[in-house]
């Protein structure tokens, strides 16, 4: 039974956006801090640090989850996706990201990475999601700029394009 000491750093390995990563952390280190400070993946933002604002949302084994409510030691061996993994190639945006740009679904951008990770997972699981379902999902995120309306418009637009892509 492995027992990790509070005062030592321990090796943590998982898959980040398809590539194996490794770093060292004390048991108390949050996944959000591990991503940003140990791995240097600063696309994941940190807002409230108690699970309310949704800015730090990442995908853990396909499901959207709060990186600030997850310890780095808990994701040993997991498959983590962050906003850095959305773009299909350098200089290109994903269909969802393109839709966000087209609909002005972000202003300051602080909440955007988390919202993208929730929507990316959700639209894959429920390609026919309607506005009510999208608003329900977005209740897990706080955006103080947009009023959410352009985010909904972008998500609905992306859903249509993703369905078209899937059928093409």
């Amino acid at each position: 039974m492995p027992r990790l000491s509070a005062t030592q750093r321990h090796s943590i390995r998982f898959t980040l956006n398809g590539a194996p990563v490794q770093g060292e952390a004390e048991p108390r280190m949050l996944l959000s801090d591990f991503l940003r400070h140990v791995l240097g993946a600063t696309g994941t933002h940190v807002g409230c640090e108690h699970g309310v604002c949704g800015a730090c949302t990442v995908q853990i084994d396909v499901s959207p989850a709060r990186a600030c409510l997850t310890l780095a030691v808990q994701v040993q061996g997991c498959d983590i996706r962050t906003v850095e993994g959305l773009a299909p190639a350098p200089g290109r945006l994903s269909i969802l990201q393109e839709a966000f740009r087209r609909h002005h679904a972000l202003q300051c951008g602080f909440c955007t990475a988390g919202i993208l990770m929730s929507l990316d997972a959700f639209l894959r699981a429920q390609p026919n999601a309607d506005e009510a379902a999208l608003r329900d999902l977005l209740s897990g995120h706080l955006c103080r700029c947009t009023g959410y309306t352009p985010i909904i418009a972008a998500a609905l637009d992306a859903a249509v394009r993703l369905r078209d892509t899937a059928h093409a």
Binding site: P2, I60, C68, L69, L71, Q74, G140
Partner: protein, 271 residues
């Protein structure tokens, strides 16, 4: 907003987890999905010396149904249960109100029961359905009825060397109807008042969360002519208090109105 230092034990078996609890006493806390515990750790409202992670204990990740009961292990995540076909209608109605999709993906049902927030939906449903909590320590196993388990604000009948191994709820019965509703400032916020009702031939059992310091249930008569008086008495008995989110008067009014709605709904859908 960072947790204080703790040792971290990755338990491979239930016996290992229980041995650690026995050895460490009150300094140890079980962590499952962590969706209630991590905010407490981040805000340093909880400062355990040791966290015992139980999520790799395969036997705890099972939800098993018999004709009489559904037994939900300590490592069953809320999202996993929500996706289960033929889920108990009251659980199915309440689960979408538990936190957000982004926390249900990690959070467990038993974790919510262990945390015992007075406005939490899962303890409320467990109480409404007269479910049981299966507690286990290195020395013994015991079952506690939901009505005896929740004793106060985030207080339960669990002893320090015990962990919740599973919760158990009765399967839907022919002739019963169920309904759930809650009012909060926004969807996913903590409930100001949450109501769950179980209607049967002999009456309606109504459980209320978010008002008293733990969920409370009463059995009300089947005849709706008696409901206004009974709901008023229930509303006052809960000793609502004013807080940042709502006044006591508003909470009592919600108990009367929302309570009546769920009782009507539950009675209307009796199978």
């Amino acid at each position: 907003m960072k947790p204080a230092k703790f040792d971290y034990v990755q338990a491979e078996t239930l016996d290992e987890a229980l041995a650690t609890l026995r050895a460490e006493g009150e300094g140890a806390r079980i962590i499952a999905g962590g969706q209630s515990l991590l905010p407490m750790l981040n805000m340093r409202l909880a400062r355990p010396a040791v966290l015992v992670d139980i999520m790799r204990i395969a036997t705890l990740a099972e939800a098993t149904a018999t004709n009489e009961t559904l037994r939900i292990g300590a490592a069953v995540r809320q999202a996993a249960l929500q996706a289960r076909p033929n889920l108990h209608p009251l659980l199915a109605a309440a689960l979408p109100w538990v936190g957000h999709a982004q926390t249900r993906s990690r959070g467990t049902l038993c974790g919510s029961v262990a945390h015992a927030d007075p406005s939490a939906e899962i303890p409320l449903v467990l109480l409404a359905l007269q479910g049981e909590i299966l507690l286990r320590s290195a020395r013994r196993t015991r079952r506690v009825a939901a009505a005896e388990f929740f004793t106060g604000m985030m207080q339960t009948a669990r002893h320090e060397d015990e962990m919740i191994e599973a919760i158990s709820i009765p399967q839907p019965r022919v002739g019963e109807g169920y309904a759930f509703r809650e009012v909060g400032r926004r969807h996913g916020d903590f409930a100001i008042v949450a109501c769950a009702a179980v209607a049967h031939a002999g009456g309606v059992r109504l459980a209320i969360g978010g008002v008293a310091d733990h969920p409370a249930a009463r059995d009300l008569p089947a005849d709706s002519a008696h409901w206004p008086e009974a709901l008023d008495a229930f509303a006052h008995a809960l000793e609502a208090r004013d807080d940042l989110h709502a006044t006591a008067t508003y909470r009592r009014q919600l108990v009367r109105k929302l309570g009546r709605q769920v009782m009507q709904e539950a009675a209307a859908c009796r199978a």
